[in-house]
Subunit: 133 residues, 4 copies
């Protein structure tokens, strides 16, 4: 499986992605397959994963996939639809689609699946691409 050296550097210093327990399966320019397991400290008052947990996984995938092109990419607008309640022990995995990559703006769609390959959430993110590498 491919791993991007740019993402190596980002991930090593990414304290919150570490806290989430994110495992990198594969990443590179425009893609990032990440895995994580829902833990008890990630639950909300209804006993299901806080909405920010699936958002976090998708947002990390967005950062890795968009920055792996070698230019700094800043998230400017993101949205997420939560389709399934997630429980402790559920295993999540991302699938990134790079919908559009233009000079300054890129658009990504990120799907989050559970361990039964059911779609748990769908995320969309727009990034601004700086000149700086």
């Amino acid at each position: 499986m491919k791993k991007s050296p740019i993402v190596d550097q980002m991930f090593e210093k990414d304290a919150f992605s570490q806290w989430l327990g994110i495992e990198r399966i594969e990443d590179g320019p425009g893609f990032a397959t990440l895995k994580m397991t829902v833990r008890s400290e990630m639950l909300n008052g209804f006993g299901i994963a806080h909405g920010a947990i699936t958002y976090a996984l998708a947002d990390s995938a967005l950062a890795f996939a968009s920055n792996a092109h070698g230019r700094q990419a800043l998230s400017i607008e993101t949205s997420i639809s939560h389709l399934l309640p997630l429980k402790e022990g559920d295993q999540l995995q991302t699938k990134v689609e790079e919908i559009s990559l233009q000079h300054r703006i890129a658009l990504y769609r990120i799907l989050i699946f559970n361990q039964h390959q059911e779609l748990a959430a769908t995320f969309q993110g727009t990034v601004y691409r700086k000149s700086k590498t």
Copy 2:
């Protein structure tokens, strides 16, 4: 300052909001003023707050403000625009606007300010309101 007994119950069991260190200033039907401070374990690979941190604070405010009406409210669509990079030690506070409250659907806008009263992020959330209390 008012505190909702419904939110008391939700917050007590909300492990992730506890991890975030959320402090409830005031909450009730349609509103929730929450505070939190960015900590080192909340930073991403660029040394600024992971996008999921501001999302989490806004999403907790959405859950509290919408459920405080007494009927269970499920988040169905949320979006966030990040306007400022946030650093360790920054203090965030929410301001909730209940834009529309209909029988089944309600719409909220949540603004996140930093300690300088600068707008750090703007969030919008649509919830589905169950009959169940």
Copy 3:
């Protein structure tokens, strides 16, 4: 090609979809392939199609695909990203994906392609499904 009798009724009375010159290729529960051509009266001050034109085509496809299930579906939240400028004479076509169909809430993604099969816009819509047929 299949045509839904429910959409027959909706389309016949849909004055704005008629004005747009929408042609129905195929439609039914959860899908709607529609075509239209950009005309001069649809252009904005930059000489390209007004953003509302692609939005309109996608929103009509959303209405047809979601109402063809036989229960009235109301659009509650929609978003669109414009990826290409469109000119007079460009021919647009929709592709609908029904991402999630639950009792009360359904989520759709609608892609708009031009005559060169390039992705011109990506649209997402959430609908509320009434009991009423």
Copy 4:
């Protein structure tokens, strides 16, 4: 009431805004108060205004308010929540808030009110600002 000479030029050539019957009340850098009346040819199959009509009014306000700064602004991501069904004869008016204006990216929120000062729709738009005037 102020009118921007930049918007004068845009509006004169904007065939679709003309078709909508948009009336400019006031506009300039970061703001645009526009009015229009719902006509029979703007209705959908349910006899209410097609979702694209309120979207169109908001999107024109976005274009006018963002371009009036003197640099070309391209819409990259927009979303709208429809809060009220609108009928033939309803009079709509926009209120633009410029949430954030940065070098390359700006964010706007546009509220659409009916003739009873009820909120009919809420729109958000992100634009990319070119160097070109």
